[in-house]
């Protein structure tokens, strides 16, 4: 990031302002980025490159950050742009291309940019979760289409696609499932049958969903494939674990990219390769609770104990998302304001 000036503003504020090593690179990422302590130290030991992690809001915010600062970025590498946001970042030319070593071990399904401006790192799923025991006399959903049934829609809570990423992914899931011609009818049925829409994930899960804390009365919630894993691992001694409606899952792939305007392009590339390497990839399941994309990574048993395998996730081409998202969300809003 060029020569740095050390600004003395008081002891507490030194950390980020100071540092003259030319081999420091800055990783800009979202607030959910977590790796075990020491993972990045290993990279420093191996390469002599120090990584400064800076976090700034959720994925949407850091992508907006990268677009607003395009050409004069806050960091050298951005991690956390996903397939929902990918097109707008690519359109704004915020990344430079880089062919990462190790990409051969990654399935083609997740390589969404042919020009390799971004490198896939992990993959998770937004899925409908439910508690079969809380459904009363209603039979459990077998497909996305089942949710429009009055007794299920009335027990379903999901999020506003304009203020929530899982909400947006679920909207995309319905569009992928029912197509341009069918998704609005599906939502009309949800609406007429009493679905609840919240602004964010937390209110839906914790204030309405029966499995939340303190929880509400609704038996079905739009959440993540990883939610049962969290419930299992961090839900106390006898955890209650939600079921996943595998047919509803929309894949969310996270990428890393080198930010255009960096003067540490080579070191940035080495960091991306490190993130893609099997040792780091094997850490991902239990630190970020998503699946690694590198097939040589080892997935711990703890993660798979509560995880439901998703074999055929729903997907939309990022280019299609980029071209239509504003229209879709506007139509969705108008449908609910009718």
């Amino acid at each position: 990031m060029g020569p740095k000036l050390c600004i003395l503003v008081g002891a507490a504020m030194l950390a980020a302002s100071c540092g003259g090593e030319p081999d420091t690179i800055v990783l800009l990422t979202h607030e959910s980025f977590v790796l075990p302590n020491g993972t990045l130290d290993t990279f420093t030991q191996d390469t002599g490159i120090t990584v400064e992690v800076v976090q700034g809001g959720d994925a949407g915010t850091i992508v907006a950050n990268a677009i607003a600062t395009a050409g004069d970025p806050v960091g050298d590498v951005l991690f956390g742009v996903d397939n929902l946001l990918l097109q707008r970042a690519l359109d704004a030319d915020v990344f430079v291309a880089h062919t990462a070593e190790g990409l051969d071990d990654v399935p083609d399904r997740v390589k969404l940019d042919e020009q390799k401006r971004v490198t896939p790192i992990d993959s998770g799923y937004v899925c409908v979760n439910f508690r079969p025991d809380a459904l009363g006399d209603a039979s459990p959903p077998q497909s996305l289409d089942d949710l429009r049934r009055p007794e299920l829609a009335a027990r379903f809570v999901t999020q506003n696609p304009e203020s929530s990423t899982p909400g947006l992914a679920f909207l995309f899931a319905t569009i992928a499932e029912f197509g341009e011609d069918g998704w609005q009818d599906f939502w009309r049925d949800l609406r007429d049958n009493g679905v609840v829409i919240t602004a964010g994930w937390s209110e839906a899960y914790n204030n309405y969903y029966v499995g939340g804390d303190p929880g509400g009365e609704r038996a079905i919630v739009n959440s993540y494939a990883s939610s049962p894993v969290f419930e299992g691992l961090f839900g106390g001694e006898e955890p209650m674990v939600s079921s996943i409606l595998a047919e509803s899952c929309f894949e969310q792939i996270e990428f890393a990219g080198i930010l255009a305007g960096t003067d540490a392009e080579e070191n940035a590339g080495r960091l991306i390769e490190y993130l893609l390497s099997p040792p780091v990839q094997s850490e991902i399941p239990l630190s970020m609770f998503v699946e690694p994309v590198n097939q040589r990574a080892v997935i711990p048993e703890e993660f798979t104990r509560y995880a439901t395998p998703i074999v055929a996730p729903l997907a939309l081409d990022p280019a299609v998302i980029g071209a239509n998202q504003a229209r879709w969300t506007q139509e969705w809003l108008e449908l609910f304001r009718e």
Partner: protein, 554 residues
């Protein structure tokens, strides 16, 4: 002696004793310094954001705002802020009155307890209010949203402003005019309407302005409780900038917001007027040492109802924080020392970071706020501009400021520096300091200051030995506010890219609330309780300086 000097008088407000002591030159210098600070930390980044957003948008001007919808949004923004302000005043005045009129053990604790909701991130308050309203049977389908719910959350959050800003002023007010009115046959209610309220005007206007602008830019509460149909300028700026990346619309709304805020701040300044000294010497006040049973009943009822209302979200969290698998325990508190799987550091360390930021932000806000109040109390054009300008940061979108810092402070790599976090917190704390201090300066007893000068003290000595001790409660109230705002702030600083050394408690709360798992929910609740108790402790601690009897020298 060519000219007659009869008619030499000392017109109240024109040139107060305080103003003479400070001197025109110093007032002007301080005013210019404050304006420079605001220009650098607010105006420049806001302009940088608008410029950059319009440039990024370029020809990709996919969607433009319709005039009609913009008018609707501005209308709702102002309406909900005005209603929130009125309700907050109505909810806060009874307690401000009790705290001003009575002296009793624990009075300070009650006063400080109102600050507790203030340190919780607004999103947490909004979630808690939603939970409480669902539990009492209010129907949220999440689609229509609920204006009453928005107002309730805003009141819970802002009552502290009224209680502290008005309460401190009220307590220092000479009560003889009220007694005179009572003797003239006014009922207590009529005394309140005809004497007390008009005399409280400077503090009421100051508190109202802060509450109004705070709710004007409210974000989390509107998004969570407003449903799909309620949006404000603030939520729309976020939506266009972050959700849709329609930067030109976001920039346009940012300009609309800035213009509206400028106008409102100016209006406030006109409303406040030059209400001069409240006169009389506060020293004449006496509090009866023992309260009658009616007074105890009155104070008790007001305290229980107001605090019960304010602290109910907090009580839910307290209950949650001690619930563990095996029943009740402090396991969640103990767990705060360890790094949970979803956070980069332990919540305890995040709290330490928050405290450091709060201290730094409170110091900066207090220094600038004192300068602003001193320069704003004289009557001059510059003073009016300063008074208007300090309010503006409250009314500027977090998106505008946050992105303004990102695109404006590219030099010296300030963007990733914690200095920006401190600045972002301090500019939000600044209006609270001024709201607490300016009415106090205006109501200073000029006679006491004159007495000091006549006794041979230099102006600097009078300011230090008399004015400063008399203003100390107001300064500390402002500093406590600035610290509390900083502890819970998650606006502009939420958009800054910051390192792990700047990871703060609100971020930790969000991280914990962002995933299922009873352990995380319990720890999030425990963390909120720690933050709440922390603010009570910190504010009580800085308030200990209030009792300065006999320590006026140096």
């Amino acid at each position: 002696m060519a000219r007659t000097v009869q008619g030499v008088t000392d017109p109240p407000g024109e040139s107060s004793a305080f103003g003479r002591l400070v001197g025109d030159r110093v007032s002007r210098g301080l005013g210019i310094a404050v304006l420079a600070f605001i220009a650098i930390t607010v105006a420049y980044p806001a302009l940088a954001m608008v410029r950059r957003f319009l440039k990024v948008a370029g020809e990709r001007n996919a969607e433009t705002l319709s005039f009609g919808s913009t008018v609707d949004i501005v209308g709702f923004t102002i309406t909900q802020a005005a209603l929130s302000t009125l309700l907050t005043l109505a909810a806060g005045l009874p307690l401000a009155h009790v705290l001003a009129e009575y002296s009793f053990r624990g009075r300070r604790v009650v006063e400080v307890a109102t600050l507790v909701p203030f340190v919780l991130p607004t999103v947490v308050v909004a979630i808690a209010v939603q939970r409480a309203l669902i539990s009492v049977g209010m129907n949220f389908d999440g689609i229509d949203g609920s204006l009453p719910a928005i107002l309730i959350a805003h009141v819970v959050f802002n009552v502290a402003v009224v209680v502290r800003v008005v309460g401190v002023y009220w307590r220092a007010m000479d009560r003889r005019p009220n007694e005179a009115a009572a003797v003239l046959g006014s009922t207590p209610l009529s005394v309140f309407w005809r004497v007390t309220l008009p005399r409280l005007r400077p503090a009421l206007v100051a508190a109202s302005a802060v509450v109004f602008l705070f709710t004007f830019t409210s974000f989390g509460v509107i998004v969570i409780l407003g449903g799909l149909s309620r949006s404000t300028i603030e939520t729309e700026i976020y939506r266009y900038a972050i959700t849709r990346n329609d930067f030109s619309a976001a920039a346009l709304l940012a300009v609309v917001q800035a213009v509206a805020v400028g106008g409102l701040a100016y209006l406030n300044q006109r409303l406040q007027g030059r209400v001069g000294a409240s006169g009389g010497s506060p020293a004449r006040r006496r509090w009866s040492q023992t309260m009658s049973w009616q007074q105890v009943l009155h104070a008790g009822t007001v305290i229980v109802i107001t605090l019960g209302f304010l602290l109910s979200p907090f009580a839910l969290l307290a209950w949650r924080s001690v619930r563990v698998d095996s029943g009740f325990g402090l396991d969640h508190y103990a767990a705060l020392a360890l790094r949970p799987a979803v956070l980069p550091i332990s919540p305890a360390r995040a709290v330490v970071h928050s405290v450091v930021f709060a201290a730094a932000a409170a110091i900066v806000a207090t220094v600038i706020g004192v300068a602003a109040s001193v320069s704003a109390q004289v009557s001059s054009r510059l003073a009016r501009i300063v008074e208007t300008a300090v309010l503006v940061p409250l009314g500027i979108s977090a998106v505008t400021l946050g992105f303004g810092y990102l695109v404006g402070f590219t030099f010296l790599e300030l963007r990733r520096s914690p200095v920006l976090v401190v600045v972002a917190h301090a500019v939000i704390g600044l209006p609270f300091v001024v709201a607490a201090l300016l009415p106090a300066i205006r109501s200073l007893d000029n006679g006491v200051l004159d007495a000091g000068v006549v006794l041979g003290a230099t102006p600097a000595h009078v300011l230090r030995r008399i004015a400063l001790p008399l203003l100390r409660p107001a300064i500390l109230a402002g500093a406590g506010f600035a610290a509390a705002v900083s502890l819970g702030e998650f606006g502009a600083s939420g958009f800054l890219a910051r390192g792990r050394s700047s990871f703060t408690a609100p971020q930790a709360v969000f991280g914990l609330l962002g995933q299922p798992g009873a352990d995380f929910q319990g720890q999030a609740a425990a963390l909120c309780i720690v933050l709440g108790l922390l603010v009570v402790l910190v504010v009580l601690l800085i308030d200990r300086g209030r009792s300065t009897l006999g320590r006026g020298w140096l």
